[in-house]
């Protein structure tokens, strides 16, 4: 991804996050899927039942 593409996605993404938060969601922005994965896995603890909506 080029610098201007990254700038555009981040600028747009942060605006959406702001709107999500206004609607009581906990909106968060991550530049990469790897960072999002780390965040999700940080919520998981031993013995927790974890389910997935996607096949």
């Amino acid at each position: 991804m080029s610098d201007y593409q990254a700038w555009f996605s981040k600028t747009t993404g942060l605006k959406v996050v702001e709107r999500l938060n206004r609607n009581s969601f906990n909106g968060l922005y991550f530049e990469t899927a790897a960072e999002a994965t780390d965040y999700i896995c940080g919520q998981i603890t031993s013995g927790m039942h974890v389910a997935f909506g996607d096949q």
Binding site: R19, F25, Y29, A36, C41, M48, H49, V50, G53, D54
Partner: protein, 158 residues
Amino acid sequence: MTVRQMGIRERAVSLGAILIDHGAPGLNEEERLEMMRRELTSDLFISSTNAVTSEGTLVNVDAYGNRVAAMMFGPRKVIIVAGFNKIVQNEKAAFDRLEQIAGPMNMKRLNRETPCTHDAVCHDCRTVSRGCRAYTILRRKPSYTPMDVLIVGEIMGM
């Protein structure tokens, strides 16, 4: 990149989590349905969304309703993941996206025999195989469901 390809399942297992996965290989139809029911009362439910609007709402379509139901109530926490490509201007654009992009691509991915898998155009079909059945809009977080919505600056899913 899709939610399935993020490697969350593998890491969750290594962290000692118990997976409830209706997409796990080797399940027969009844076992798969039972998994879907159990997913509704999971501790953590992780899913993609079909569209996120610039107004901060989530728009989805589902075949069985299990995914959209679990987004709204049941799991103790929900995490929604959306690639940058899922952002659309408003709810009308979201439904256009469901009809023109997510629907046909999902039906093709799942090898469904629907008209859209032949010409990539929605026919609002009445086929038994139709996957676009339950439509939901989340305009606010459902009251009893803690929900993180992760916007990712990469193209993810369909």
